[in-house]
């Protein structure tokens, strides 16, 4: 059976010719027959130059590992973004990691009670830089209908990069939020959230006399130097 493709016949022929000539050039280069201006042109067409920051941001932004962490009803929507319908694996964010040490992204999927807030903050502190946070749903952003004595908004105790509104947000909305976060990472490779939020000196410091305190003091300095 013959497959007939629709479209411009002339453009197809041109593309085929260009592909053929590029193939021939590659063969000549491998044989060592290309020289001078032709070799320059060949290298220019094959090599992509960029800055290290951009390359790193590209790698970071396209493979975010969220933490396996559900808080409330929004978590059900969060689970469905990796399922067949929305399929976040298309963008490379499907690997939910069970340990905060391996995760880049914390999705606050639901209400955070004042009893849960220290736990969430601890999980955030255990994550390694670079780390990002999405506040999903009304409760973790503005507390929604639970604006009462028991609930605290995420902004009060940790920096949040993206707020996704909704009660709960549709899986598509969360996907949109994650893609916004990807844009943020790609366009602004500088981590710099401590500068954005004026959050210097907010790292969890272990009690006096333990080795962890020395490490905690180093964090703001090294982070600023690496991203400059």
């Amino acid at each position: 059976m013959e497959i007939v493709r629709a479209g411009d016949k002339g453009a197809q022929d041109l593309a085929r010719t260009e592909f053929r000539s590029a193939q021939m050039k590659s063969r000549d280069m491998l044989r060592g027959d290309l020289e001078g201006a032709e070799l320059e042109a060949y290298v220019e067409s094959r090599v992509l130059t960029t800055t290290l920051d951009k390359a790193v941001a590209w790698a970071r932004g396209n493979a975010i590992f969220p933490a396996t962490f559900g808080l409330a009803c929004c978590a059900i929507e969060m689970m469905s973004i990796v399922a067949a319908r929305v399929d976040l694996a298309r963008f490379g964010f499907e690997a939910f990691r069970a340990s905060p040490r391996q995760a880049d992204l914390l999705i606050l999927s639901g209400r955070i009670s004042i009893k849960m807030a220290p736990v969430v903050r601890r999980i955030y502190d255990q994550m390694l830089e670079p780390k990002y946070v999405i506040a999903m749903g009304a409760c973790s952003s503005s507390m929604g209908v639970f604006n009462n004595y028991a609930i605290v908004p995420a902004d009060k105790f940790m920096p949040v990069d993206v707020h996704v509104p909704g009660c709960p947000p549709r899986p598509e909305a969360l996907t949109h939020g994650i893609l916004k976060l990807r844009n943020l990472i790609l366009e602004n490779p500088d981590l710099g959230w401590r500068d954005r939020y004026d959050g210097h000196g907010t790292v969890e410091v272990a009690p006096e006399g333990t080795t962890a305190s020395a490490h905690a003091e180093n964090v703001p300095g090294t982070e600023g130097g690496a991203s400059a």
Binding site: I114, S142, N147, N148, Y149, P153, K156, D195, Y197, D198
Partner: protein, 169 residues
Amino acid sequence: MPDATGLELFAQEIGDTDDQAVLGTVFFRDRATLLVSPKAVPAALQFLKGKGYTFLASVHGVDYFPEEPRLGVLYELLDMKTVDRITVKTRVHTEAPIVPSVTHDWPTANHQEREVYDMFGVHFTDHPDLRRILMPEDYEGFPQRRDFPIGGEPIIFTHSEAGGPGWWK
């Protein structure tokens, strides 16, 4: 459901052993409620257990503000053989909210009494482990009381944020 007569008979029988125990009976919309004094709660529940109400379905608190005595503790009992329900109700003042615990007779009351203590501040004497169960241990006040402020925080949106870092600009 015990009918109105059956409820009166229960009240009579409890009153025979302790005439201070029963404060009244309410039979409203086929629901039987026995009002007892706080001290008589364990004895009344044990009496009803002997009558077949062997399942303590729920212990919960109510704040009747501005009525006095303000706080109420309700025990919902169920007879699983005849599917009969009866409510035992007691009222205490906020100044001395003391009710004897029934945890030793009904182990299920353990966590439910802790919850009533957490939310309404009713103190259950002889409870084996009377601590807060839902709110943090260092929380002050009893949030389900009617005179407790509803709480919540003013929400800062981007447009109303006065002294923000301005990183979005």
